[in-house]
Amino acid sequence: MGSVLAASSPSPPPPPSAAGSASPGVTMPPGFGMPPVPPAAPPTGSGAGKEQRAENLLPNPGAFDECHRKCKEVFPMQMEGVRLVVNKGLSNHFQVNHSLLLSTTGDSSYRFGATFVGSKQTGPAEFFPVMVGDMDNSGSLNSQIIHQISSRIRSKVAFQTQQQKFVNWQGDAEFRGEDFTAMVTFGNPDVLAGSGIIITHYLQSITPSLALGGELVYHRRPGEEGSVLSLVGRYTASDFIATLTLGSAGAHASYYHKANEQLQVGVEFEASSRMQDTSASFGYQLDVPKANLQFKGSVDSNWVVGATLEKKLLPLPLSLVLCAFLNHQKNKFQCGFGITIG
């Protein structure tokens, strides 16, 4: 069971974010992400020269999309309505899940999901290929296939449909070198219509703490084409990570700080030149393992205050989630309640 649970995403899918990606029209299916790749081990050997070369080797900087992830994970996820999730592992390779969402603002829905994990092991708790899919009661499908082609190349194919119509389809390939990561993504390619999106990412370790990189998005459709370039810099220390992304579309800065084993703090700043809007957010995560409790809170410059409380009801295989968000500016309140079984 461990390999299936390690590969699948246990948390509910996050709400779609219009400003989450620099590539217009291409959005990742909710709740999907690349499994972590273990860092490349430095070459071993006798001799002072080889030891010095091993010490001078820069670490792989990780994926481009993960630059801001540590800070994002500290913030609570907004949830509305009542959610019931049942996870059932049928074998070490196969798991199914049922999700029922009862909502007061939108449509209630039921989703059935399945996760298959192969037997090719590339690291501790990392097995490939990974196939994840889920379908809701209206027939809309989200699916993703991740496979490690070689020790350094990983590929992913993702599809998203709304009922019977394909909305998103994309494929990408990621190459992890000794001290760099390069990825190319093809989004919604349509050879007949001559449209599509190509995204390239590159991230290079400059020092053991500093990584610099860039993202180039090229989009084309009949009669129109354009490109967007963004640069990213990330500084990693023992207890904090500071990341800055600058581009023609705007800027995104994040600061993640691990105060101690119980407390993590995240601060974010986002500015969009297109929307002519800026925002700053402060969030924290409190872990109390003795009480099997996790609390996340946030406040931002738009006067939105939110919090989520997650508690495992041991020895039962139950997890309870309470969520509340209050928008003082618009005078709106949202609360959510969820139970996860298995």
Binding site: F240, A253, Y255, H257, A259, N260, Q262, L263, V265, G266, V267, E268, F269, A271, Q276, D277, T278, S279, A280, F282, Y284, L286, V288, K290, S301
Partner: protein, 64 residues
């Protein structure tokens, strides 16, 4: 007479300067103003995260 005119001129300039700063600080529709305010909030948040978050929740309570 000329000194009082100079003083009145500098006073009116200072008043105009203060008024423009007040209008800039309170205009919520101004992108540059929002940018400066939110950058300040971000810097404050980073300072709080680095300096005010080092408390241990699991430490024993003081006995009175």
């Amino acid at each position: 007479m000329s000194e009082s005119n100079v003083k009145k001129g500098s006073l009116s300039r200072a008043t105009e300067w203060i008024s423009s700063i007040y209008r800039f600080a309170t205009d919520r529709n101004d992108f540059r103003r929002n940018l400066v305010v939110n950058l300040g909030l971000f810097a404050t948040g980073v300072w709080v995260a680095r300096n005010l978050s080092d408390f241990d929740l699991m430490s024993p309570q003081p006995v009175t």
